[in-house]
Symmetry: C2
């Protein structure tokens, strides 16, 4: 396993792999790796000749009052985990090399980035789309892997890839969860034991909602109200949003039919957690 | 020479060329080709194994009151010219295939697109950056060629390529001019004989300004005033802007030193012409 910091060098190394007609599987991460990331790496290993993982806490996707500074970083541990998984290349760029002085260019995926998580994080998905476009151009993957927990993110990346005619396949892997159902997240490290225990209500509420729909509920308002009621019983939480949406367009739906996304975000203390389920 | 309309097919054909380790030179155009375009094609022929030219009147770079509908189109003549130049592939997509229903993604190069031509054409360079990003992803060129007449455009493309880590070299070829100095432009076809004759004042004013600087003038305000005075004598013109700028950052400059961009835009009737010179 090789670690490369320079974008120019990484670009050249990946061009070399491509010109040897080997396929590249790419897992972009912000580090602080958990079982969810490693599942993405395993899927990449299965499908591609070479696996590249980027570890970069992307500043442009954090709001001014968000947790950029305290976001967990542990590259030693991350490297050890990735080595064990048989990753070929880690891309570990600096902020300065990715956003040098005078940096100006951003990619936006229209209203897809302004809804759901985009309401409380207005520039988040602009930062996400931009860094992923940059990383895609450097790494030149055949397939890139994203986790289903960040559902809106993968929807936006898929749309960007389609709209900008990027020749890249996007695979979304199922959310990996703790035993009690809590979705794995690097931000779970902010939580106290008590908060972690409380946080399992999020997934329980989503499973309950899926059950409601399975039993015939067709009104999104009812589903949303039932989820809200269940989470609000857990006093530690403040709900950001609970939404029932079309999983491809992220459009609101009036009546539930076919595949449906149920997504939520909630604050526990200062920590913002997200989760979702498709029903 | 082969003409391809489908973005998917074009992407596959170009991927095939790349996997044969041949280089691709790319000239994106809006058709209505003139000697300036053909000069770009010749430069591409010289430097690359295969030459791809796109002909697409990109709707997203036209403002609502601009000349999208009447923009000259003559694909038969264009094809004949390109065949004669030994072009390998013409990419001729439809609006619908490039911007299908639900299209959402745009690329913006910050304030570079808001100044100069961006003042009277506020979304123009957003459309330009977006279509060029799309075309680059489809064609996967090693080198792309742009004309110096559209100076701000090539500066924005260069910045986008650098910022988004695109592995593409940008070459800017000198403006090709009529005998009297008028910069070749597809929009010259809108002009009457009288207007064409009058339009030569634009380049004369730029050459005069370059002469001033050569003789030691260091104040941009003086240079701008002299250009304005010269153009205003030609009653048919209404000046949009005359600017003296840094040719890389497009920043305004207070004192002329080193390489300097002098750029202008002016309306003659409803036709907007641009030109520039570096001094």
């Amino acid at each position: 396993m090789k670690t490369v910091s320079s974008p120019e060098k990484m670009s050249a190394v990946c061009a070399g792999i491509k010109s040897n007609k080997q396929t590249i599987g790419f897992v972009p991460t912000m580090g602080a790796l958990h079982a969810g990331h490693l599942e993405l790496v395993r899927q990449a290993k299965k499908r591609c000749d070479r696996v590249v993982v980027s570890v970069f806490v992307n500043p442009t996707q954090f709001g001014p009052k968000e947790d950029l500074k305290k976001y967990p970083r542990n590259i030693k541990k991350d490297s050890a985990l990735l080595k064990k998984e048989g990753v070929d290349l880690i891309f570990l760029p600096s902020n300065k090399s990715m956003y040098p002085e005078g940096y100006k260019t951003f990619v936006e995926v229209g209203d897809l980035g302004k809804t759901m998580c985009g309401v409380s994080r207005p520039d988040h998905f602009k930062g996400v789309a931009t860094i992923v476009a940059k990383l895609f151009n450097i790494v030149k993957p055949d397939i890139a892997f994203f986790g289903a927990k960040d559902f809106q993110q993968q929807a936006i990346i898929r749309k960007m890839v389609q709209d900008l005619n990027m020749d890249i396949k996007i695979i979304t892997a199922p959310t990996v969860r703790e035993k009690d159902g809590l979705a794995m997240s690097s931000r779970n490290s902010y939580l106290s034991d008590k908060e972690i225990k409380a946080a399992s209500v999020l997934y329980r509420s989503l499973k309950m909602a899926k059950g409601l729909i399975k039993k015939g509920e067709r009104d999104p308002r009812t589903v949303i109200a039932r989820i809200r009621a269940m989470i609000m019983k857990e006093k530690l939480f403040k709900i950001d949003y609970v939404e029932v949406r079309d999983p491809d367009t992220l459009d609101k739906i009036k009546k539930i039919k076919g595949r449906t996304l149920i997504a939520l975000a909630a604050y526990i203390g200062k920590t913002r957690l997200i989760d979702n389920i498709t029903a």
